[in-house]
């Protein structure tokens, strides 16, 4: 028994040392699990307050056009960022940085579009109108804050002197992208549940 364990995996203790880079990714994955749980709970609250009828807003459902445009903006930013991740894998940091800049710019565009959407929407519905309004603005605003966080994360990553995944902070580009994709996926759910379903009559 004695020698078995030691001999089974001696490799990592020899030169050159293998630096483990998984911790940050693990942490980010769990942050995302927690955030996903939060959005799930927000959606369940939406379902609960709708009394089981997801085609809920009794007056008029939110307009689809801008939301779909925002989906396009955010979706394309995710695609660009995935391309950037591949550039990192091939050690092409310059290209990856440009991809990050582009994604952050598209994210900012998303926020501008959301401001327009709010300005239009607030004419007929405010957070103080009724429970539907409270929930609609809370969910979309929390998502907007996540987009803002994602933009700040990306800018931070782009400012880092070295994007080599093996250098601390390990895998910065990959971890920030993971958060970005998550925020993107949440918007898909928001569009589906808050924008599209109420139109299905």
């Amino acid at each position: 028994m004695n020698t078995e364990v030691v001999e089974r995996h001696p490799a990592i203790f020899h030169l050159p040392p293998v630096i483990d880079t998984r911790r940050g990714t693990g942490g980010m994955m769990l942050v995302i699990v927690s955030e996903a749980s939060m959005f799930l709970i927000l959606f369940v609250s939406y379902w609960f307050l709708s009394n089981g009828d997801l085609r809920w807003p009794s007056q008029e459902p939110p307009k689809l056009g801008l939301a779909l445009l925002m989906l396009l903006v955010l979706g394309s930013s995710s695609v660009i960022l995935s391309w950037g991740e591949r550039q990192i894998q091939h050690a092409r940091q310059r290209a990856a940085r440009w991809a990050g800049v582009l994604a952050a710019a598209l994210g900012s565009m998303f926020l501008v579009l959301q401001a327009f959407e709010y300005r239009d929407h607030l004419k007929t519905l405010t957070p103080r109108t009724n429970a539907y309004g409270s929930l609609f603005y809370t969910i979309t605003a929390i998502h907007g804050l996540h987009v803002l966080t994602g933009i700040l994360l990306l800018i931070y990553v782009l400012l880092l002197p070295d994007l080599d995944p093996a250098k601390p902070p390990h895998r910065p580009y990959y971890n920030a992208s993971m958060f970005w994709h998550f925020v993107d996926v949440v918007w898909i759910f928001i569009v589906a549940i808050l924008y599209v379903v109420p139109h299905l009559r």
């Binding site: 028994m1 995996h9 483990d20 911790r23 927690s34 307050l49 957070p127």
Partner: protein
């Protein structure tokens, strides 16, 4: 490229030189700056333990104030408002700022030692968890200083807690302090998961993990998934109270039941969060005192995980009196009874371990046995309340108070004291006084039962919870007086043990490395452990590393010393095969600054002063930016 403790075979470095070098690398200077910037999990663990015990003392004094008020009919020691604030603060303090943090304290101290790692996976996040736990507690209690503590009960049902029926700052402090705490707790849970799944000693595969790791993992996952419900509920409450939304306002399409659903979706998993780590600790220490491995290790591990899972499907049993469909109530009633099966499996495993072993009745084992007895009572009266028609009769009476105290005090405080008697010799390096310990146990046990058993009866007689007084002649006086006397005795017993901890840690007999001849890795270290833990990162060949004849620290070529910086071994999550070296951060004050920034943010929100809140938010981002920036010396490792 620096070498990471890799030496040619010919070079024989003396063990004492390793110790010297590791000490230089890991030790924090004993200065003021060193104290506020340390990231040592052992220091943080001790801080958690001490702080949580202080919160317990505060919550205990609140409980005694309530008991004095209720000792006689028509007593007028406390005004109704003061009574409301005190019972609310008692509940919040005990459940959020004592019961879970005390277990985080043990977890922080023990988990890295148990897995043979040199620190948690995110030592700075760990420091942040502690500071934000401390500051959120101070934030909560600042409400008491201005005389406007929360007064809506620890589960704060709407509409009673909205701005119309609860004006003032109390419930705002409640909502914001809890959101603040959820940040701390979630960060801590993520840290535990990544640590246990990433830094176990080579060879410690899942089937060789000490049971406390199973309960810590289950608990941490439950926190990550269920705590957002509390965050969302508190956010809704605060928005309703201050910003004019209508989540809980029924005339605008809201629903007060939304609060109850969200709160208990979080609340019931939370019961297991404060319960499972305690069972994990019992599963660690009870077999040691029974002098044999635990019976049914696999069953205990699986039922721990199952308890965590099913814990997510029983929350409605807090709401049987609300009025819901029979189908859903039946389902949740059945789930509530199912969950007791998995607790029973653990109880039977402990009893079988005691029967098959040759138990040594130390003070620690006394507390463990007391816990089992109380858990069985708490479990049985829990099953009674899981029966819906009975629950309709008993809900909101003192019967439920008795049940939850048997479960929470019985299954948290008693195991925690068992754990103190078991692990304090490791933490302080000195043995506790056994006689005083057993005396303290009996005082606590008698006091506890005297305080809480009569509450079953007074509950059956119809005494409702949360009343600040009651008229004479209902047959409640004798039972309430007994409860008050019992509570005093319970407090005395806790004092005896706390005195024992303080006195013995100064004057006790030196403990040596392994006073209990226990089986897990932390007992291979000196007491108290050196800042770096082990000189050689151990490898593990069985479930009981110190009971087998395998030498965990055997490392003839000194490959696992890792003395070129703060380093530890990273391994795969299932089989714990080493896959790399993890670089650990140096001491830093960023975690404290981040917690302070958040405190500023939440103070701004409670006032409400948006300028202060924005300053806090900006400071939060600034501190995080500084925190995450790679240090020049780290870039070269």
């Amino acid at each position: 490229m620096v070498q990471l403790g890799i030496y040619p075979v010919v070079e024989k470095t003396a063990e004492s030189e390793f110790v010297h070098r590791l000490n230089q690398i890991w030790e924090t200077p004993h200065t003021f700056w060193g104290r506020i910037s340390t990231v040592d999990h052992k220091v943080i663990g001790c801080r958690y333990l001490v702080t949580a015990m202080i919160f317990m003392a505060v919550g205990g004094l609140e409980a005694l104030a309530m008991r004095l008020q209720l000792s006689r009919a028509n007593q007028s020691l406390l005004t109704p408002e003061a009574y409301n604030q005190i019972f609310t603060m008692h509940g919040i303090t005990m459940i959020f700022w004592y019961a879970s943090p005390i277990l985080s304290g043990f977890g922080n101290y023990l988990v890295p030692l148990l897995i043979g790692a040199r620190d948690m996976a995110f030592p700075r996040v760990n420091a942040f968890s502690y500071w934000s736990f401390l500051l959120s507690g101070m934030f909560l209690y600042s409400s008491a200083v201005i005389g406007q503590a929360p007064h809506g009960g620890w589960f704060a049902y709407t509409p009673y807690t909205d701005s119309i029926y609860s004006p003032g700052y109390g419930m705002d402090f409640y909502a914001l302090a809890l959101i603040f705490l959820t940040i701390s707790t979630t960060a801590g849970a993520i840290n535990f998961i990544v640590t246990i799944f990433g830094l176990r000693a080579p060879g410690m595969d899942l089937s060789r993990m000490p049971l406390i790791l199973y309960s810590t993992l289950t608990t941490s996952f439950a926190i990550v998934v269920s705590l957002p419900a509390l965050t969302v509920a508190c956010l809704f409450l605060e928005l309703d109270r201050r910003w004019g939304t209508h989540f809980f306002a029924i005339d605008r399409g809201g629903n007060p039941l939304l609060w109850q659903q969200l709160f208990w979706f979080f609340g019931h998993p939370w019961v297991y969060v404060v319960f499972l780590p305690a069972t994990g600790m019992i599963s660690m220490l009870l077999p040691v005192f029974a002098r044999r491995p635990i019976v049914g290790y696999n069953f205990v591990a699986v039922s721990t995980v199952m308890t965590g899972l099913i814990g997510f499907s029983v929350w409605i049993h807090h709401m049987f009196a609300v009025g819901m469909s029979h189908m859903s109530m039946t389902f949740f009633s059945a789930a509530s009874m199912t969950i007791s099966v998995f607790t029973a499996i653990q109880v039977f495993a402990w009893i079988a371990t005691l029967i098959k072993g040759r138990p040594i009745f130390t003070a620690s084992l006394h507390f463990a046995l007391g816990f089992i007895a109380l858990l069985v009572v708490g479990g049985l009266n829990g099953i009674i309340t899981a029966v819906i028609p009975v629950d309709w009769q008993l809900t909101d009476t003192y019967f439920v108070v008795a049940h939850l105290h048997y479960v929470l005090v019985g299954a948290n405080v008693f195991p925690v004291f068992a754990a103190f008697y078991y692990w304090l010799p490791k933490i302080t390096g000195r043995r506790m006084n056994e006689t005083l310990g057993k005396l303290g146990f009996w005082i606590m046990f008698v006091g506890f039962n005297l305080a809480f058993f009569p509450m079953h009866m007074v509950g059956l007689l119809g005494m409702p919870r949360r009343v600040y007084t009651y008229p004479p002649g209902l047959g409640w006086e004798g039972l309430n007086a007994t409860s008050t006397v019992g509570a005093m005795i319970l407090g005395l017993g806790i004092l005896v043990s706390c005195w024992n901890f303080l006195a013995s840690s100064r004057r006790g007999v030196p403990a040596g490395r392994n006073p209990w001849r226990a089986d897990t890795l932390e007992w291979a270290l000196e007491s108290p452990p050196a800042p770096y833990g082990t000189v050689h990162i151990p490898t593990v060949a069985s479930l009981h590393p110190l009971w087998d004849d395998y030498d965990e620290e055997l490392d003839p070529h000194n490959e696992r010393v890792l003395d070129r910086g703060r380093l530890t071994v990273a391994s795969t999550w299932r089989e714990a095969k080493p896959v790399g070296i993890s670089k650990m951060p140096e001491d830093t004050s960023s975690p404290l600054l981040l917690a302070i920034s958040l405190a500023v943010l939440f103070s701004g929100l409670v006032l409400p002063r948006l300028d202060i809140a924005s300053a806090g938010a900006l400071a939060t981002f600034a501190v995080m930016a500084v925190w995450l920036w790679p240090h020049p010396e780290e870039v070269h490792t």
